[in-house]
């Protein structure tokens, strides 16, 4: 876990304000934003920074999230560094343009606060809003705590601008977005050096009279997806490299996957986002009781680090996937992805898909400890399992 040291420049910030600080330091040129609970504190903090002359991006406040994403694509296509943020309904309203942004190879960085989508109306932490966008061509990260969110949003600009693909960074509503904690702020110089302005192939506004996204024939469209595939294939190694580079500056690690106590583990939790922190406690408690428990945190979800997951789970007898999301008709999305990644692997674990925390219900460490006891010797079960 990348907890800040008290010797660093530590401030008490909630997760959303930590994101706003990261964005301020990354210094985007344009930031189209539309408010929505529980994202709004990101927007509010950026506007406050602008009023203090510490953030000089062009802030646009259009009439909807759809328009915000349209503005983000257009600005990014001119070569501008672009940030936006949203949550739940707002992200879903953007859906059409998420495909457009990725297809247009615009390296936009967007922060999404994971919240239950309607109906019924709710404001609770649940990752189905962003997981249901997994096929749009955006790189996706899931953050555990405010420090992780700040570190990741900064790294996201470097990743996006290297592969020309948009990046969506996510954290859970309330447990991270509104959780006030010590957060270490890097200096402006550190981030400026970390995020050099990369020369980009500007697609609009360079006077050459070209158009972007005009109708093309089948083979050319096919080629765009092959090129995106090539870009996506670079992302896992790039994420690892960017994380190592960040670690040399901050002493905080950020990897595509984080493994905790997995070396000799016989039962491993696999999860994303805020539940990771609680799972760490469960692992420690189980170890004290003599159970060889471990944990894998999936920080980079898209592209899924499939080879690394296979290596991490090879010869582990049992793995429990903890999904704070539910895809009706299949179950947990991470469970589905894990089944796919481990398919046909010799020495694959018995894999259980546990629907924990769907709709934001509370998941204390004791619940996870009980799951480890219940499933360590259970019969295989390929179906999703609802956890009380």
């Amino acid at each position: 876990m990348n907890a800040p040291a008290f010797t660093d420049n530590v401030q008490l910030l909630n997760g959303n304000h930590a994101v706003a600080w990261g964005v301020r330091l990354a210094a985007p040129d344009v930031a189209p934003l539309y408010p929505i609970t529980p994202q709004t504190p990101i927007l509010e903090k950026l506007i406050e920074f602008q009023s203090q002359n510490t953030f000089d991006a062009e802030l646009l406040t259009p009439e909807s999230e759809h328009s915000a994403m349209a503005a983000a694509i257009a600005a990014s296509a001119t070569g501008a560094r672009v940030f936006t943020a949203t949550s739940s309904q707002g992200l879903l309203l953007m859906h059409e343009l998420l495909h457009f942004a990725a297809g247009a190879r615009t390296p936009i960085v967007m922060f999404n606060v994971n919240r239950t989508p309607a109906s019924p109306w709710g404001f609770w932490p649940d990752q189905i809003d962003s997981l249901s966008q997994r096929d749009t061509g955006w790189i996706q990260f899931y953050c555990e705590n405010p420090q992780d969110s700040l570190d990741t949003v900064i790294q996201a600009f470097r990743i996006a601008e290297t592969v020309n693909l948009p990046v969506m960074v996510n954290h859970d509503a309330f447990y991270v977005s509104h959780s006030v904690e010590p957060v270490s702020l890097p200096s402006a110089e550190t981030v400026k050096d970390f995020l050099p302005r990369q020369p980009r192939q500007i697609q609009l506004g360079d006077g050459s009279g070209r158009s972007l996204g005009a109708p093309i024939d089948q083979a050319s469209w096919n080629l765009t997806r092959r090129e995106m595939d090539a870009g996506m294939s670079l992302v896992e190694d790039l994420t690892a490299e960017v994380g190592r580079s960040w670690a040399t500056l901050t002493r905080r690690t950020s990897a595509p996957l984080e493994q905790y106590q997995t070396d000799d583990a016989e039962i491993v939790f696999v999860t994303m986002g805020s539940m990771t922190g609680t799972a760490r406690i469960a692992v420690d408690t189980l170890r004290e009781r003599g159970v060889a428990a471990g944990l894998i945190k999936v920080r980079l979800f898209r592209p899924l680090p499939a080879a690394a997951l296979r290596a991490a789970l090879m010869d582990v007898p049992c793995a429990l996937v903890l999904d704070r999301n539910y895809s009706p008709g299949t179950g947990g999305v991470l469970h589905q992805e894990l089944k796919s990644a481990l398919f046909g692997m010799a020495g694959a674990p018995r894999l259980y898909g546990l629907l924990t925390g769907v709709g934001g219900v509370n998941v204390p460490a004791e619940t996870l400890e009980k799951l480890a006891a219940d499933y360590s010797d259970a019969a295989p079960d390929n179906n999703p399992i609802w956890v009380e």
């Binding site: 008490l12 909630n14 959780s179 010590p182 609680t278």
Partner: protein, 183 residues
């Protein structure tokens, strides 16, 4: 680890109190985590602020279900469901003019009424009770010290800084000398 739940109605300042207490505990060198949950974000609906403090980084991301101490801004919210979120011997400070004996209780939880409204009124704070309640709460909790608490209130109160500080100090002083109804 210290685990605290503050319960109030939207607009009463429970979330502000949680943030101020977190800042004071952080200023004393603790790792802290405080988060709020609220339903429709409407004035008057129940708002919960949760706070953890420890000498080590705080890892868990779940609700507090066995609080060390609780602060309740409104005795109409003091019910069994709320009290059950506290540990068996939890400290429960309640904004109320009633006696401890006439308030709901559960197990060995220590119910401490504080007449926050009277203290607020005496300090020209009208109905704004959060600084008075914080003063009483930190006195009973025995951490952080009153000077640190008041410094944070002075730094963060949006208006009437001096009145907030004197209300906090008065409640702290009263609480240090009496375990009965304060003020």
């Amino acid at each position: 680890m210290l685990e605290i739940i503050i319960l109030g109605r939207g607009g009463q300042g429970a979330q502000t109190a949680g943030n101020q207490l977190a800042k004071a505990l952080f200023a004393k060198g603790n790792y802290v985590q405080t988060f709020s949950t609220y339903g429709g974000a409407r004035r008057g609906t129940p708002v919960t602020s949760s706070l953890r403090a420890d000498s080590q980084p705080i890892r868990q991301r779940c609700n507090i279900t066995s609080a060390t101490a609780m602060l309740c801004f409104d005795d109409s919210l003091l019910d069994e469901a709320f009290l059950k979120l506290g540990a068996e011997d939890a400290l429960v400070v309640v904004n109320s003019a009633r006696s401890a004996a006439s308030l709901p209780s559960l197990g060995n939880r220590r119910i401490i009424p504080v007449d926050g409204k009277a203290i607020a009124r005496r300090n020209n704070m009208g109905k704004v009770v959060n600084s008075a309640l914080l003063g009483a709460f930190v006195a009973k909790l025995d951490t952080p010290d009153i000077d640190t608490m008041c410094a944070i209130i002075e730094d963060t109160a949006p208006a009437k800084k001096q009145e907030n500080v004197t209300a906090c100090r008065e409640a702290w002083g009263l609480n240090a000398t009496s375990s009965e109804v304060l003020a």
